[in-house]
């Protein structure tokens, strides 16, 4: 049934943002877990571990997120593994975010001068102790601005979950369009809501980056 676009629809769209945020949170947590692992693999003092990390990053960064979503949403159930949409989305987004965060964090870890590692070694610290007490605390500061920047990418990419029927902001926009037949207004509102989420984060990321440059 076609009806007028009313305030209630806008409120529904705003309410749907919570699923976008929930999905972003899950993707970020899962991605952080994978990402940390990948970043460590990529700097490990053992070549095959580095190759494995590099292969993972190349494979994921070379395939569309949409393909991962389709494999997890539709592919797995056909093979006989039944997964809930949340699990499927969490798995697809964690794999995706893990590759990008892993690469970002690897860069931050490698930005710490080699002499810092050597200083740790000369104090008799083991590899893991050097990493934990010397490298990671310094790399952490470097990692914050690009990580916040990637969070913006992640929020935007949760919109692809709408394609597999996951209800979040974009999907809610599609549903609202279907009942009100006002695509231009509805998608403009959807875009504005995404902008309201992402723009402040972009600004924060930029400000942090500038502060870091001054500090160095």
């Amino acid at each position: 049934m076609i009806r007028e676009l009313a305030l209630i629809d806008v409120l529904y769209l705003i309410a749907a943002m919570r699923w976008t945020l929930a999905l972003t949170a899950i993707a970020f947590l899962g991605g952080a877990f994978f990402g940390l692992f990948i970043a460590l693999l990529r700097i490990a003092p053992f070549a095959p571990a580095r190759w494995l990390g590099a292969a993972y990053v190349n494979a994921v960064q070379g395939t569309p997120l949409l393909a991962w979503l389709f494999v997890f949403f539709f592919g797995l159930s056909i093979v006989g593994v039944t997964v809930s949409p949340w699990i499927a989305a969490a798995a697809a987004y964690s794999i995706y975010a893990g590759a990008f965060l892993g690469e970002i964090w690897r860069g931050c870890l490698q930005a710490i001068p080699q002499t810092q590692w050597e200083a740790g070694a000369s104090l008799g610290l083991s590899f893991s102790a050097q990493l934990r007490y010397i490298i990671v605390p310094q790399a952490f500061r470097l990692a914050i601005p690009p990580t916040v920047g990637f969070l913006v990418q992640l929020i935007k990419n949760t919109s692809l979950a709408a394609v597999v029927g996951f209800i979040e902001l974009t999907r809610e926009g599609q549903l609202t369009t279907a009942t009100t037949f006002r695509p231009f207004t509805v998608y403009l509102i959807v875009a504005a809501l995404y902008f309201a989420l992402c723009f402040p984060l972009t600004q924060v990321s930029r400000r942090l980056e500038r502060r870091l440059h001054v500090a160095r």
Binding site: V71, F74, V163
Partner: protein, 220 residues
């Protein structure tokens, strides 16, 4: 019940998938070329333009970079017809991707232009180069070399993002995959094959862009 993998149905549709692949390549190529041109113009306006132009370009960049591509696609394909502007799906996809990449490359190129020290431009002026010559040899060329890696990875991301245009029924590779899926119900097989195809494309594109860097910036 065990599942038997059957890739035969997927490979039987190879001609159909190839048609999709061609559109994916066309979309990527056109939006990379046009997006880059927008990027050069946008970055020049952002750095050297008047205050109004600067604000306008900055708004364009921020709006595009802070909203999802799929919403931009929906807005252009489903939304604009109600404002009287109608595209077919493939054209809408091309327009959306170009506008999208234009914003990203504006931002990347702006960083490159701002990294060129003022003294370089003054050195160019001291040598008696014209404004256009300075822009070409002193500004754009070194700026490009600086930001080339960022630009190249943005191009690869764009190529992968073209898969999203299947959602407005543009007949790209991903759309072809969905059609094959609905005919054969071989979900797992078709999407893994498609993922592999995109991976091959991404690796090839990365290789070509690396080659281009060698040709243009290193062998000089």
């Amino acid at each position: 019940m065990t599942y038997r993998f059957n890739f035969r149905d997927v490979f039987a549709a190879w001609e159909f998938l190839l048609d999709g692949l061609v559109l994916t390549l066309q979309l990527s190529l056109v939006s990379i070329v046009c997006g880059l041109l927008i990027g050069i113009a946008g970055a020049a306006a952002r750095v050297h333009g008047g205050p109004w132009l600067k604000t306008l370009v900055a708004t364009y960049v921020e709006v595009i970079r802070n909203t999802p591509l799929i919403v931009q696609l929906f807005l252009i394909f489903f939304g604009l017809p109600s404002a009287g502007i109608k595209f077919d799906a493939n054209t809408a996809a091309m327009v959306a991707l170009t506008i999208n990449l234009g914003a990203y490359s504006t931002e990347i190129l702006r960083a490159g232009l701002e990294a060129i020290p003022r003294s370089q431009i003054e050195a160019g002026q001291a040598l008696g180069l014209s404004g256009l010559q300075i822009f070409r040899y002193v500004v754009i060329f070194p700026a490009f070399r600086l930001i080339y890696p960022a630009l190249a990875s943005q191009f690869v991301l764009l190529m992968l993002a073209t898969s999203v245009v299947s959602q407005i029924s543009a007949q790209d590779l991903f759309h072809a995959a969905s059609i094959v899926q609905s005919r054969t119900f071989r979900d797992f097989e078709i999407y893994t094959v498609i993922a592999a195809a995109y991976l091959a494309l991404a690796l090839a594109l990365r290789f070509l862009l690396g080659l281009l860097y060698q040709l243009v910036f290193v062998r000089r």
